[in-house]
């Protein structure tokens, strides 16, 4: 045997013996081959103990061969690249792969928690709920230990170096599952000319045929698979996704597939920029879906059925044929149906001794029973394996005669030594996606399984997933589903003959949900139903005794079907045991809900490329490069990045802002205000329309005139504000807040399109077209004149709150004489492509005036000094214009959106929170923004709050801090003292004052 792989068969299998490789498990090095899974390589090396169970810390080994594996949950890789909670049965072996068992701290073999198993009797269902309830204050302590003991994998604590991507795809037919039925359906649809996506979670297509032994058209079945795959690959509109798990079936036939991508050996050497995609998330819109994911074999529920070495029969056959691994030397096969007989034949063929087939059915198997007899394998019909011996590995099976009576006690009369117990309790179709899509399930009493019933979306099920367990039936059902799909699409189905198979008829399965034991069900050794969650027959019976009846409640009380496993193995056995305990038929008990994801999906796959710089768009103004070159730290405003301040000579924020503020007050400053929303409003009904949505009298504005305007929601609350300019009789130009730009356009379009379609008005967003340069300060006029302006800028020719078109330094601009600083100011609108040029020219010419670029922080301070609000900072969606003292903006002569709400009693309350200014009594304290205001200090909590601070800055112009606040009944309380109470700090005494701190008469902006 090569390099210690004691269980590796000398020949056969789909592994590549020319590519031996080494890997490690729990720090120990082993040998395997390319084509192995981590599970098959561990079995080849005779590693049977792979972890400890969730609650009882019992030793556990590999049970299955694919997505159903409950025990072999691995942490693969080290450090940042570690991937928690992978199933060893789905991990392809790679050179140097390092895996650890996720459960079994501090080590798999010496688990301190194993002592818990001795206390198993008191660790029944609901143990944690009952025990760790009191005293309440201790819960945090309990929780720490419970979480530590129960954990699955460990999330890496540094960024994931792997690269992920998303792909959107569309197809006529999506086939989930590439076994015989799926391949047949895909071939049928593709030959009809449909666009097909075929996804299979395995490395190779073939599904159950990969486990070998089948024949199609007289040749090995995998030959037929190879032919079908080759034909599909040739078709231009057919996409084959191997290693692709369809994990979510969402509304409107939207499905999600996660595809593990093959890593090239030299991938790491290419560096992070060329790192290949590790996983790809496919987002598929399919017109039709064929679900062909096959069926899961069920374990049988007997005492100590979780011992390593107890495996699903189909998995044993798979390891023999696919991986050339013989998981045991002396086997017992225990079944209630015919399929496991093939495993007995496979085992014998691979050189194992099959000590017995234990068949719970008194009549034994159908035609296959004869073949087993010819091989000399003893069959014990009408018997069960009631218990097994061995702890870290099965040592023997205790066998009893059984009359067929559920819950009867049996006597073990025969003990057979074995190191492998292959079990089959029948098959459960993988109905997960069908259920996720809203499809109903129907109980099939003859096959003892839930079958996909009525579908709610355009999908169909085929093959073993549809209860067609023989190969011939699978192929025929795949063809049927493929034809049905293309017919529904209006395509002509091709003529395809069902390939010939050579199966013999099987004897029917017989129900065996819980194998009788020597003692009654509550006192016998544990009979596991859900291996991953350590749920036993006794737990379910306890839940029923304690009053739980509904399957969803029992699930939550016993943890049945939780975890990465999602009940793939245990659910049906669990429901059947519950039904028997309740004395109800199984369909009446029903199933729990199946939800995405079908198997665990990495967070990285969900995030895709949206990480780092691509996490969210960064919107940049046309002047962004200048700001960056000037070293301005950026403030994130929605998706925009705006310069916050322009530090000089290592200034901090406060020093820079103080300098910038004084420059604007004393000479002239310039700000990039391009992020303001801008909307062109045109048409004969423009005035009429704007009258309805804005609160002020729009019709009184003459062309060339600007006005401050506010928009209210239907609730009367301030929604947005900005400047409205009338450019012509039928043409207006609106500005909105930076954050409100898209919302305001939507709001206006909504009213125009849905409520007032008769109004002749066009709205066009010009936010991106124009850049806005705000030039503010007493020298702003001189600056523009110096730069060269073709219109007079003096007070009489171009008064405050007016708009003009002009040529500035030879460039066409619109000039708005509006001011958000209270100073003489001009807002220049210029086509964005020309903005950098104009900005540079202004900076050149401005040297004479010490023109100072300023950022959003200075803008905030300047406007707060004037008591100008910022919607969204000083308002929060519950503030009316009256609260802000803007009654003068509310027209009495017309109706407008929100007007009626302002007359609601609540809007008229005298104690509504109103905008006020605050000055700290001590004079030098900047009150933290958001601080709550209280009437007096020294009160016991909870202290009544009468307002909060919305804006707070140090004012360099005034020489002391200022703040804006919303205070209950505040306007009538000028001169009163309140206390700002920031958490964890001494209360600050503040005086209520007018919000207009600077130039309250407003003379400076009119010069």
């Amino acid at each position: 045997m090569a390099a210690g792989q004691a269980n590796r068969l000398p020949r056969g299998g789909r592994i590549d013996r020319s590519r031996p490789l080494r890997f490690s498990f729990d720090g120990k090095s082993y040998a395997g081959y390319a084509g192995d899974t981590l599970a098959s390589a561990l079995l080849a090396n005779g590693v049977s103990l792979l972890g400890r169970s969730f609650k009882l810390r019992r030793p556990r080994g590999i049970v299955g061969g694919g997505a159903e594996e409950p025990n072999a949950v691995m942490q693969v890789g080290e450090g940042a690249a570690a991937r928690p909670n992978l199933l060893a049965t789905q991990v392809e072996l790679e050179p140097g792969l390092a895996a650890r068992a996720t459960r079994g701290w501090p080590s798999t073999r010496f688990d301190i928690g194993a002592a818990l198993d001795s206390f198993g009797r008191i660790l029944g269902a609901g143990f944690y709920y009952k025990t760790f309830k009191y005293p309440r204050a201790w819960w945090k302590l309990y929780e720490h230990f419970i979480r530590r003991a129960a954990g699955f994998g460990k999330a890496p604590d540094s960024p994931d170096p792997d690269r992920y991507e998303h792909r959107n795809a569309h197809c006529d037919v999506l086939v989930a599952g590439g076994g015989p039925a799926g391949l047949m359906a895909a071939l049928t649809a593709a030959r009809a000319g449909a666009r097909v996506i075929l996804a299979d979670d395995d490395v190779e297509f073939g599904g159950s045929l990969l486990a070998g032994g089948d024949a199609i058209d007289g040749a090995p079945a995998m030959d037929w698979v190879a032919g079908a795959v080759a034909e599909l690959r040739e078709m231009p509109d057919c996409r084959l996704l191997s290693r692709g798990t369809v994990f979510g079936y969402h509304d409107h036939n939207f499905l999600t597939i996660v595809q593990r991508c093959v890593q090239e050996a030299d991938a790491a050497a290419q560096g992070p920029a060329r790192r290949p995609v590790a996983e790809r998330l496919w987002r598929v819109r399919a017109k039709r879906v064929v679900l062909a994911q096959g069926a899961f074999e069920r374990p049988l529920v007997f005492c100590n059925n979780d011992r390593p070495g107890v495996m699903l029969a189909s998995a044993v056959s798979g390891y023999i044929h696919r991986h050339a691994v013989l998981p045991g030397r002396r086997a017992v096969v225990f079944t209630n149906n015919d399929s496991a007989y093939r495993t007995a034949i496979d085992l014998a063929g691979a050189g194992a001794e099959v000590a017995a087939i234990v068949d719970s059915r008194p009549g034994g198997a159908g035609a296959i029973g004869q073949r087993v007899k010819e091989l000399g394998i003893p069959v014990l019909a009408g018997h069960v394996v009631s218990d097994v011996s061995g702890r870290r590995r099965v040592r023997g099976a205790g066998i009893a005669r059984w009359t067929g009576e559920p819950w009867s006690a049996v006597e073990i009369t025969l003990r057979i030594d074995c190191d492998l117990l292959a079990v089959s309790g029948g098959f459960s179709p993988a109905v997960h996606l069908h259920s996720q899509a809203g499809g109903k399930l129907e109980w099939d009493e003859s096959q003892l399984c839930f079958l996909p019933g009525e579908a709610r979306q355009p999908h169909d099920s085929a093959g073993a997933g549809n209860g067609k367990l023989s190969l011939g039936d699978c192929l025929a059902d795949g063809l049927r589903a493929g034809k049905a799909a293309v017919e529904a699409l209006g395509l002509n189905p091709p003529e395809i003959e069902i390939p010939a198979t050579n199966e013999s008829p099987a004897a029917p399965i017989k129900a065996l949900w819980r194998v009788p034991a020597a003692k009654d069900a509550d006192r016998c050794p544990k009979q596991f139903i859900d291996f991953q969650n350590d749920t036993t027959v006794a737990d379910i019976r306890l839940a029923v005794r304690e009053g739980y009846r509904n399957v969803e409640h029992v699930k939550r009380y016993t943890a049945l079907g939780f975890g990465t496993d999602q009940g793939k193995l245990g659910n049906i056995n669990g429901m059947a045991v519950l039904a028997e305990t309740l004395g109800k038929p199984i369909p009446e008990v029903g199933t729990t809900t199946f939800r995405p994801a079908y198997t665990p999906v990495r967070f990285g796959a969900g995030a895709g490329e949206s990480v780092g710089a691509l996490y969210d768009p960064v919107r940049k103004t046309a002047l962004h490069q200048w700001h960056e070159a000037a070293g301005a730290p950026m403030e994130v405003v929605g998706q925009w990045h705006r310069p916050r301040y322009f530090p000089r000579n290592g200034e901090d924020l406060h020093a820079a802002v103080a300098r910038e503020c004084l420059a604007v007050r004393n000479s002239v400053g310039i700000m990039d205000a391009s992020t303001l929303g801008k909307i062109d409003v045109r048409g004969p009904d423009a005035v009429n329309f704007l009258e309805r949505v804005y609160t002020h009298n729009v019709d009184r504005m003459k062309p060339g005139r600007c006005a401050y305007g506010i928009l209210l929601g239907e609730d009367g609350m301030v929604m947005d504000d900005g400047v409205m300019a009338r450019l012509a009789e039928d043409r207006f130009y609106l500005t909105t807040t930076t954050g409100g730009a898209a919302q305001v356009l939507d709001w206006l379009e909504k009213w125009l399109q849905t409520e007032w379609p008769e109004l002749e008005v066009w709205l066009t967003s010009l936010t991106e077209q124009f850049s806005t340069l705000a030039v503010a300060g007493p020298n702003s006029r001189a600056l523009l004149e110096k730069l060269g302006c073709d219109i007079p800028l003096d007070r009489e020719s171009f008064p405050f709150m007016h708009v003009r078109t002009a040529n500035l330094a030879g460039m066409p601009v619109s000039l708005f004489r509006v001011s958000f600083s209270g100073e003489l100011a001009f807002e220049i609108n210029i086509a964005s492509g020309l903005a950098p040029d104009l900005w540079r020219k202004l900076m050149d010419v401005g040297r004479e005036f010490e023109l100072t670029p300023y950022g959003t922080e200075t803008m905030h301070v300047l406007r707060a000094e004037k008591g100008f609000v910022i919607v969204g900072q000083d308002t929060d969606g519950s503030v009316t214009p009256v609260d802000l003292g803007m009654n003068w903006l509310l027209s009495k002569e017309k109706d407008f959106l929100g007007k009626r709400s302002l007359a609601r009693p609540d809007c008229l309350r005298a104690d509504r929170k109103q905008l006020v200014g605050l000055l700290s009594r001590a004079g030098c304290t900047v009150i933290p923004e958001g601080a709550q205001l209280i009437e007096r200090t020294g009160q016991r909590a909870p202290v009544p709050m009468c307002g909060h601070v919305t804006s707070s800055y140090h004012s360099a112009s005034l020489g002391h801090p200022i703040a804006l606040a919303l205070v209950a009944g505040g306007r009538g309380r000028r001169g009163e003292t309140l206390f700002a109470a920031p958490p964890g700090r001494e209360p600050i005494a503040v005086e209520i004052v007018s919000p207009a701190f600077y130039d309250p008469k407003g003379g400076r902006q009119h010069v």
Binding site: Q769, G833, A835
Partner: protein, 191 residues
């Protein structure tokens, strides 16, 4: 009026200092000196449509998600909205002509040349690259030459047009998103 679009930083990862580059089956080029007009009018008013078409010398496409070629491209943006792509030098004059011809009609013409960045995408893997961030079906039968759509690409809104079967696509995006989108494209162009 010459249009100067600052080169988005995001493209450097893909083509360094060059204006266009081809790699891994994808070609990306930044188109300069493009002019754009936004046109709103009610297509049910035949006289208004005719007045616009006379100035343009070509039909306004009325079928959803299509564009008309000819002297310039006219993209359908909505039932009453079009985007006209012209040379940057021509945009101002064309706007004047349209406004004159549409005076007295219920229509709006706005020069939006300053608000857009234009990219040309091509190469055998162009569809694959776009499918990483666009949920539309870009199969040649579903999104054929002559079709366009205002749609999401990654987290930006773009106007995507299929120009020819090569395939060649034109991508028009709001200028503030150009840097982000170019970064995204440079990333998505990786195989």
């Amino acid at each position: 009026m010459s249009e100067r679009i600052a080169r988005p930083h995001g493209l450097e990862a893909f083509f360094g200092a060059a204006e266009s580059a081809s790699r891994d089956g994808v070609e990306i080029a930044l188109l300069k000196n493009r002019g754009f007009l936004n046109l709103r009018l009610d297509p049910r008013r035949e006289r208004t449509v005719k007045a616009a078409e006379e100035v343009l010398g070509q039909d306004l496409p009325l079928a959803a998600n299509s564009f008309s070629g000819g002297k310039r491209r006219v993209y359908w943006l909505g039932p009453d909205e079009w985007l006209l792509e012209t040379g940057a030098e021509e945009a101002g004059a064309l706007r004047g002509e349209l406004e004159a011809a549409l005076a007295g009609h219920h229509a709006a013409v706005n020069d939006v040349s300053g608000g857009q960045a234009t990219l040309r995408l091509g190469g055998p893997e162009a569809r694959t690259m776009l499918s990483k961030g666009c949920t539309l079906d870009l199969h040649p039968r579903e999104f054929a030459p002559g079709q366009c759509a205002r749609t999401g690409l990654a987290r930006a809104t773009v106007l995507l047009a299929c120009i020819d079967e090569a395939p060649t696509f034109t991508l028009i995006v709001a200028r503030s998103f150009a840097d982000y989108l170019c970064r995204w494209l440079a990333n998505a162009a990786r195989p």
